[in-house]
């Protein structure tokens, strides 16, 4: 436990020293801000920026609900551009240690591989969720200000479930880092694998149940106020996280 604490703390201090907490948070705040602002002021933006010749915006178009705006922020911004940048920020989480010799120095101490990998998972999950949560809260505040109220408890529940998806993505980056040495290749493969898990959940119910991406539907349901806590999706996601870590541990021991 002491080793886990020491290693996790080092990950967090390193992120602070490298200003990762700041730039990643700023990035998610900008993402969180743009969706509600663009949705609300699209006609004004087009009018002022120009280039809107031939485009007519229906003045009687229905005003989207705050839930719909939040959903488009998460699905459209956080889970696409946000996810790509997040994964790029994770690409060195094992590779940097391996290339610098730090991994060898750590693993020759009485430190278990489990402690090492779980500390990586926890550290980068905390960094990611810190940035995502602030971005999401800014988006929430702007959305309720511009589009009306939305249950805060549902929003918190959404964030909790979404954090499981992020935990899975970090564990996936860890696993892929044990197969691939090039940081760029780690990022590309992790992005491709994450998109794959998001896509296959839509194919049929069985794949939805068996994909760790199913947790995203569960999270989004909280924004749509559908209170269906599908525990199987939670269990599947946790099982995949555990599987990723075990596999990563096996790879590190073998080579």
């Amino acid at each position: 436990m002491t080793n886990f604490y020491t290693l996790t703390r080092t990950e967090l201090v390193e992120a602070a020293k490298e200003f990762k907490f700041i730039w990643l948070t700023l990035f998610f705040v900008i993402l969180g801000l743009t969706q509600p602002l663009i949705t609300k002021y699209m006609d004004v933006i087009l009018e002022n920026v120009g280039g809107a010749d031939g485009i007519t915006i229906d003045p009687n178009r229905p005003v989207p609900s705050s839930a719909e705006v939040l959903l488009s922020t998460i699905s459209g911004q956080f889970n696409q551009i946000g996810l790509i940048i997040l994964i790029i920020s994770l690409m060195g989480l094992i590779a940097a240690d391996r290339n610098s010799g730090m991994q060898d120095f750590i693993l020759t101490r009485p430190v278990s591989l489990r402690s090492y990998l779980v500390s990586k998972l926890a550290g980068h999950w905390i960094i990611s969720m810190f940035s995502i949560s602030i971005g999401a809260v800014v988006s929430y505040v702007y959305t309720i200000f511009l589009f009306g109220s939305f249950s805060f408890s549902n929003f918190v529940l959404f964030l909790l479930l979404y954090s499981l998806w992020i935990l899975f993505v970090v564990s996936l980056a860890i696993l892929i880092s044990t197969f691939v040495k090039s940081p760029i290749l780690i990022a590309v493969t992790t992005i491709a694998a994450s998109i794959f898990f998001i896509l296959i959940k839509g194919f049929n119910h069985l794949l939805f149940q068996l994909s760790p991406g199913g947790i995203l539907n569960l999270a989004e349901n909280q924004l749509l106020s559908v209170h269906d806590l599908n525990y199987f999706s939670i269990a599947t996601c946790l099982a995949f996280i555990s599987l990723n870590l075990s596999w990563a541990s096996r790879n590190l021991k073998k080579a």
């Binding site: 002491t2 080793n3 020491t6 290693l7 080092t10 390193e14 020293k17 490298e18 290339n99 610098s100 010799g101 730090m102 060898d104 120095f105 750590i106 693993l107 020759t108 101490r109 009485p110 430190v111 021991k253 073998k254 080579a255």
Partner: protein, 296 residues
């Protein structure tokens, strides 16, 4: 102290180590020699518990070595510590991972920094250190927990002559109080402080040479002649079966078995040959190494 028995290791279906067996006694300083890609680093990683081997056993005082991580100090080939940490913070970090308490570390870190000659660089960030200083910091983290066994993987290979000299002096001091294994392909360095050499090639042990190997293996004699024989064949006798002319009056005599100086001298005297000097030829570690790893 350490016994490696019938060790096998395969990485990505490629056999890296095959049937590796040797032992190291307490207090020895052993050089692990081999060309690049011979399997030295893999062997060291198995010995330090970083990698898991498929077959065989590595024991430390008769119990699996992985149970003795606290007794092992390790210096990796790369010593790029966290660049944002100071030297003291780096040592504190590794000390905590070794299970050392805060009070012990506070007292010991400055002593270890002094030992490696970095006492005035404690507050320097790692990114401010030269290659030699980083290597010395690497040794500092390896000895911080006062290990019984010190494993140094290529400790001087990447250093300039000044850095190399600093690290060599440090190793010479450390070998007086702990068992040391040094992996290297720089033979001159290894011969300076090693008592014994284990030579590895293509994942197999091809030589296990004691320090006094050169003295005990007395099959060659270097002789300088006053009057040069017409042919080198004239130097052959029942004992000497090979003659190599090194210079007009210097010859290397090789026997089928151990040679005796007095017999060779007597033979030459009987043939009325004038000998200026005669001595056993001691082969250097480089020569022995090249012979053992050569493919022919």
């Amino acid at each position: 102290m350490i016994t490696v028995e019938k060790l096998h290791k395969t990485i990505k279906k490629r056999k890296i180590l095959s049937d590796v067996t040797f032992s190291i006694a307490e207090g020895e300083c052993v050089g692990l020699l081999g060309p690049n890609g011979a399997g030295k680093t893999t062997l060291i990683k198995c010995m330090t518990g970083i990698l898991q081997h498929e077959q065989g056993a590595i024991t430390f005082n008769s119990t699996p070595i992985v149970q003795h991580k606290k007794s092992i100090g390790y210096l990796s080939q790369q010593t790029d510590f966290k660049p944002w940490m100071t030297c003291e913070e780096s040592l504190f970090f590794f000390g905590k991972l070794s299970g050392l308490d805060k009070e012990f570390l506070q007292g010991n870190i400055s002593a270890v920094l002094k030992e490696v000659g970095l006492e005035e660089k404690g507050h320097y960030k790692v990114e401010q250190l030269s290659g030699g200083m980083k290597q010395r910091l690497g040794i500092a983290q390896a000895i911080l927990h006062q290990p019984l066994l010190l494993i140094l993987d290529e400790p001087v290979s990447a250093l300039d002559p000044i850095g190399r000299n600093e690290v060599k002096k440090l190793i010479a001091r450390l070998k007086k109080r702990t068992t040391v294994i040094i992996s290297t392909h720089i033979l001159d360095d290894a011969s300076e402080f090693c008592d014994r050499f284990i030579i590895i090639k293509n994942g197999r042990i091809v030589g296990n040479i004691n320090d006094d190997f050169q003295k005990t293996e007395r099959k060659q004699i270097l002789v300088k002649m006053g009057n040069v024989p017409k042919t080198s064949e004239a130097l052959k006798s029942s004992e000497v079966e090979g003659v190599e002319c090194l210079s007009p009056n210097t010859f290397l005599l090789t026997g089928a078995k151990e040679l005796h100086l007095n017999k060779v001298v007597n033979d030459f005297a009987a043939k009325e040959m004038d000998i200026t000097s005669i001595e056993f030829y001691e082969r250097g570690i480089e020569e022995i190494f090249l012979e053992m790893v050569s493919d022919t």
